[in-house]
Every structure is written in structure tokens, then in C-alpha cells.
């Protein structure tokens, strides 16, 4: 089994510093967060430029070249609702460390992002939803099947669609947690890759609680077969849990210093 893939989520335009950096094309804040996340062990970095309706393509190109140029062609997830921006980003993307990830498609309005990934030999995050959160796993798996078939018709490898069950918040949807975990097991049993915004589960919880809940969630999800997650890699407890689960699953070979690697 391959090592769990962490996608660092901290280059996100919801952060005022990152938003300002994108608005003014100021590299410092972006490079700082990229470095922090890579030092903490992230594999991929997510680059969320927001809707970027005016200058999306130009902005995404700038961001891709900036981050890959400074960090040895680190692989990236291109995260925006602006399709032209994703395509522009891929046009300057260096694949030597991994394919680009299109973040994201769903089984509704954003289905065409699968076409975009297929046309550009990219990985795509496929949200098992057509808008609202799926009512149950029958619905989740129907969306999964539809997107899988669509991708394969377009010539994609099944493993290039990373299915996202959509993690849901415990405070309000506690009764749905096991269902999400069961969906991951179903993806895994089909030999599919999976990912998701894992920390959704701890939304609204006190700051000191979130790393604990996220760590428990990632451990249970990895047991179910989750192959990747979009996370804050600077959360040390979470990263230690992921590395430990990778050892227990045989994804990496144990050495006493495994947490340093």
C-alpha cells in the first residue's frame, strides 16, 4: 500500500494574509505557508485562489510557478471554481513530483471538472454529492458510480478519481459520522482512492479539542481505507497520528525516528 497522501490546506484565500498576497501578487505570505506545510510533512499543497473571476488564469499561473519554482516542483491541488484558471495552472505545471489535482468536481454542476481532469491527465477530487450533502450511502455511492463511469468513459484511470465522501460536522450531524466512514470502506473495497476535508468533523469545537477529534477521525478513516486527506499539516498531533497509522498499515517501514521523516 502507498503512503497516505496529505494535501496541505493552508494556502487558502479565506486567510486575510493569503488573500492580500494573491490580490497584490506578494509572494512572501504564500511562500511562508508553503514552507511551513512542507516542513511539517505535507505531500501536496492545495492552492485556493477563491473564485478569481477577473484574473483567475493569470493568478493561478503565477501561483503555480511561484510555489513550484521555490519548492522543487512540489505537487499541487488547484482549487478554484474558475475552470479556466485551473487549465491555465496546469499549462505551466511541472509533473515531475506528481500529477496536478483538480479540486474539485461533483456529480452535479461541477461534473465537467472531470472532463477537465481527463483532458489534462490530472487527478480529480470527486465529491459524492450533487449539491447538498448526500442523504445516505445509497445516494453517495450512486454519485460515486456516476462520476467513476464518466471519468472512465473519458479514458481516465479509476485511481485518478479521488472520491470525497464529504466529512460532516459532529456538532449537528453526530449520527452521520459512521455512515461517512462506511462510505470510505466501500470506496476502498472497490479499489478506489479517497480524500476529503477531514477537519470538517470538528468544526465549531474549541481549538484545543480539534486536533484530538481530527486525529481520531483520521485513524478511523485510515482503518476504513482512506488514502488521502486535505488537512492542516501544521497540526502535529494529526500528522503524528497519520505517520503512526501508516506504520500500522505497513505503508511505511518502521524506524525509531519515523516521526522525524
Amino acid at each position: 500500500m502507498a503512503k497516505f497522501v496529505t494535501i496541505g490546506e493552508r494556502i487558502h484565500c479565506i486567510s486575510p494574509a493569503i488573500r492580500a498576497a494573491f490580490d497584490n501578487k506578494q509572494p512572501e505570505a504564500i511562500l511562508k505557508r508553503a514552507k511551513e506545510q512542507l516542513d511539517a510533512g505535507a505531500t501536496y499543497l492545495d492552492v485556493n485562489i477563491g473564485p478569481a473571476e477577473n484574473n483567475g488564469p493569470e493568478l493561478m499561473k503565477w501561483a503555480v510557478e511561484l510555489i513550484q519554482g521555490n519548492f522543487d516542483n512540489v505537487p499541487l491541488a488547484l482549487d478554484t471554481a474558475n475552470k479556466a484558471a485551473i487549465e491555465a495552472g496546469i499549462s505551466v505545471y511541472n509533473r515531475s513530483k506528481g500529477k496536478p489535482i483538480v479540486n474539485s468536481a461533483d456529480a452535479g454542476d461541477r461534473m465537467s471538472n472531470i472532463d477537465l481532469a481527463a483532458a489534462n491527465d490530472a487527478i480529480v477530487i470527486a465529491l459524492c454529492s450533487n449539491g447538498p450533502i448526500a442523504a445516505d450511502n445509497d445516494e453517495r455511492m450512486m454519485h460515486c458510480q456516476n462520476m467513476l463511469e464518466h471519468g472512465m468513459e473519458l479514458g481516465m484511470e479509476a485511481t485518478d478519481l479521488w472520491f470525497d465522501p464529504l466529512f460532516v460536522v459532529v456538532k449537528g450531524m453526530q449520527d452521520k459520522q459512521m455512515e461517512v466512514l462506511e462510505a470510505i470502506k466501500m470506496f476502498s473495497d472497490m479499489g478506489l482512492n479517497s480524500t476529503g476535508g477531514l477537519s470538517n468533523n470538528s468544526n465549531g469545537m474549541p481549538k484545543n479539542i480539534r486536533p484530538i477529534m481530527d486525529s481520531a477521525m483520521v485513524a478511523m478513516a485510515m482503518m476504513q481505507g482512506l488514502t488521502s486527506a486535505i488537512v492542516n499539516p501544521c497540526d502535529q498531533r494529526l500528522m503524528e497520528t497519520i505517520k503512526s497509522c501508516d506504520v500500522l498499515k505497513g505503508n511505511t517501514l518502521y524506524a525509531d525516528s519515523y516521526l522525524d521523516l
Binding site: 502507498a2 503512503k3 505503508n251 511505511t252 517501514l253 518502521y254 524506524a255 525509531d256 525516528s257 521523516l261
Partner: protein, 314 residues
């Protein structure tokens, strides 16, 4: 249905470590396939063969080895003859006499021998210590210092003495260092981690993950090789992508199959020297087809045979 050949390709590869200087320098490692799967990818420059000599002279050596070195009166003579052995790529000086429980030669005496050997040859040199961790922690840094500029491989740094040997060999004197673990894959990885944390670059480390004569717990040696390579190539584990060197002669020539005189052995065993060569060759072949990027041998017939074996599979 027609047969479709599928290459067993990996996106990872074993690192390359260069030892020696000038035209005769060699590169260990560099492969990105299972051993000798040249039809699937690259084997780098291919496995190499080392010719072992020791500071203890020739008295205890098998007849064929004595005959080969006949007429040599100094370590320099022996070293030159070892370098000239057909099929050998590098010379290995094993400082077995340094063992405090054996001949207990002084560090000064052993360093002088290492210098004499090094000065006599132009091919790459590997210097093995006495196997005593305290003695080697003192001896190998001195050897590293004396042979500065020769780009030698010093064996071995172990869990107990890697700081002294790694710091001196690789950091202070820019030599290469062997990381030795005894059929313990987790320790093999850990040693590489702590050596790199010490500042030794991955391109300066060669692993000895353990060795044994065929039939003497050898299956553990092989399963360790298998697991090291599975992690290095299959999981792209950077901390296990160092090339592997395996001392063979020092293991195989001491077991009873190689030493029992004909009069003491079962009738069908045959001449003692033939058995010794067979043990050395069989063990080396099994190591090479499992992972080893270099094997250390001593009998001229074994060296010629293994060298031919490698050439015919490359």
C-alpha cells in the same frame, strides 16, 4: 490469448555511491529494478566484486589463496596482487587483527598497513574494521584521516559507534561510510536516518544489512534484502535507497563445510577447497540476485566465477 509483457517498473531508484578516484573509481547502486531485471529498466553500472585481504597475512588462508599470492612479502605486494585478480573491481582490507579479543594490534600499526595498501593500488579501497565496536570507533576515524583524498569506504558504522565513524569518515575526511545492521530492517532504516541527521549525505552511505553463509540463518539475510528493496523501490523510502554491500568471504570460509578436512568430513563432501569455493560462490550468487550491489570475496576462482556470472546477466 497473446502474451503481453509488462515491465515491472518503479518510480524510485537506488542511490549511487562512488568509491575510489580517477579512472578506476566505481559506482555502487543506481538500479531502478529488481536485481538483474535489465529487461525492465536500469541496473546502473551493475554489481561489483571486492577482493578481500587482511592484516593477518596469508598463513590461515586456503591453499588456493596462498598460491595466488605466492611470492608476496609485504602488504603492498599482496595489495597489488589483489588489485590484479581477474574479475575484481575493488580491494577490501579487513583489519581483523584489531580485535582486542584476538591479535589486538594497535591502531597505529593498522593505520600504517592501511596506508601501505592504499598507496600500493589505484583501484577503489574498502577498509573493514575489527568488528569490535569500541576499537572500530577509534580505528576507523584514524584510517579515514590517513587515507584522506582516496575516497575509501569505511565499514562499518553500527548503532553503537555511528557518531564517531560517521562524523570522521564522511564529515571530517569526506570518505564513504558503511552502515551495518544485523538482519534488522528497522535498525537498517534507523541507522540511515540518524546518520543523515548527523549530516552525512545519503550519497555517502552504503548499507551492510547483514550477511551469513548459505545454510547459516541465511534466509534471514535474504528476507531482509527483500524487505529493504520492497520499501526502497515500492514505497520510495528514501532512507532505504542506499546501495548494499555484503561481505561474503568472511562468513563462508569459517563454516565447517569450508574447513573440515576430507578425513573428518562425510565421504561424498569431496576436497575441502572445492567446498569452500562452492560455499563462497553459492552465497554470493544468492546475495546478488536478492539485492547486493557489491559482494566481498577472496578466492580467485570465486572472484572469476562471480564476475563472469554478473557479466552474463547484465
Amino acid at each position: 490469448m497473446p502474451f503481453n509483457r509488462k515491465a515491472h517498473k518503479f518510480s524510485a531508484s537506488i542511490g549511487t555511491v562512488e568509491i575510489g578516484t580517477g579512472d578506476k573509481a566505481i559506482k555502487l547502486g543506481g538500479e531502478n529494478v529488481m536485481p538483474f531485471y535489465t529487461f525492465d529498466g536500469s541496473m546502473g553500472d551493475g554489481p561489483k566484486v571486492g577482493v578481500e585481504i587482511t592484516d593477518l597475512g596469508l598463513d590461515a588462508e586456503p591453499q588456493g589463496v596462498k598460491d595466488y599470492y605466492a611470492g608476496c612479502t609485504s602488504f603492498a605486494d599482496i595489495a597489488k596482487k589483489a588489485e590484479a585478480m581477474p574479475g575484481g573491481d575493488f580491494v577490501v582490507l579487513r583489519l581483523a587483527g584489531g580485535d582486542p579479543n584476538g591479535a589486538n594490534k594497535s591502531t597505529e600499526e593498522l593505520v600504517a598497513i592501511a596506508k601501505e595498501v592504499s598507496d600500493a593500488i589505484s583501484c577503489p579501497l574498502v577498509v573493514e574494521g575489527s568488528k569490535n565496536v569500541e576499537k572500530d570507533a577509534e580505528l576507523l576515524p584514524k584510517v579515514a584521516q590517513a587515507l584522506e583524498g582516496k575516497n575509501v569506504l569505511l565499514m562499518s558504522a553500527k548503532e553503537e559507534n555511528y557518531k564517531a565513524i560517521g562524523a570522521a569518515a564522511a564529515l571530517a575526511y569526506n570518505q564513504k561510510v558503511g552502515a551495518e545492521s544485523a538482519v534488522d530492517i528497522n535498525l537498517a532504516k534507523q541507522l540511515n536516518v540518524v546518520m543523515t541527521q548527523l549530516g552525512v549525505s545519503a550519497q555517502s552511505i552504503v548499507m551492510n544489512t547483514g550477511s551469513a553463509a548459505a545454510g547459516y540463518g541465511f534466509d534471514y539475510t535474504i528476507s531482509t534484502f527483500d524487505r529493504v528493496r520492497a520499501a526502497a523501490l515500492g514505497q520510495d523510502d528514501k532512507m532505504l535507497q542506499m546501495p548494499i554491500i555484503t561481505p561474503v568471504a568472511s562468513e563462508t570460509w569459517s563454516v565447517k563445510e569450508s574447513t573440515a578436512e576430507e578425513s573428518d568430513a562425510p565421504e561424498f563432501w569431496g576436497p575441502v577447497e572445492e567446498r569452500g569455493i562452492a560455499m563462497e560462490v553459492e552465497t554470493a550468487v544468492a546475495c546478488l540476485v536478492s539485492a547486493s550491489d557489491a559482494v566481498i570475496l577472496k578466492h580467485p576462482k570465486s572472484v572469476a566465477t562471480i564476475s563472469e556470472f554478473i557479466k552474463s546477466l547484465m
